[in-house]
Amino acid sequence: MIEWIISILLLIGGSFVLVGSIGLVKMPDFYMRLHGPTKATTLGMASLLTAAMIFFSTTQTGLSVKEILISLFLLLTAPVSAYMMIKSAIHHKLDSIERTKGKDNIEDDV
């Protein structure tokens, strides 16, 4: 039974991480590419880590909770790295695709 739960969690996690990577390849411009890795991977990593937590708690003695820390650090760092990347993209005036709305909302930097 526990093997089933672990396998399902691993599959869910793997597919979300895969979708995030597909987004990275498939999207037409830099700004849209950022959406895949920042979001689709957080849930994927969370599922993989939950699977790891269940696996190590059941096969080894004692509860294994270190994985909660990894998820916490991932949740903290994902938005920050996304922000740094999009900030430098705006600074370098990277082109976004033609139909992007509200481009005049971007102000010139000092």
Partner: protein
Amino acid sequence: MRLEAKFKWLPTPLRSLLLFIVWLLLNNSLSAGHIVLAVILAIVIPLATSLFRTKQPLILKPGLALRHLMLVLYDIITANVQVAILILGPNKNLNPGFVKVPLDLTHSLPITILASTVSLTPGTVSAEVYPWGESLTEGEEPEERFLLIHVLNLEDEQALINTIKQRYEAPLKEIFQC
């Protein structure tokens, strides 16, 4: 908004609690020795670092903060599913856009938390806070702040701004009382 904690020896109560929990999680144990060490670290580290940290507003409503955290975690799960569907669908159906959200928050910590939640929730990534910090002189407060966000699939700009303001900004204002 309150910057100073009740007790001088405990400048950041919630961060001390976090340090305590993180230490126990890192060691993966609940033995008496580790608990004592965790308590000492949770008190000493904030005191030792308080001199070179700028004062940040304290969380004044912990219960509400916990409820907001649960809401954000739930939104992260739905965001993942929504973005996965958008990514796998055809590219030509996506209408990306930049949106400027006016902010009522004033302090840097609440704004950082808001920007991070926006990045983690459905279809939006926060890009920039206006006005630029460099364009302001020291200690000057800008009249109005904006958060520039990039939206993967922009349908209704005003509705999106309203959602962000009501769902994520209003609870933060309440939590930090600013």
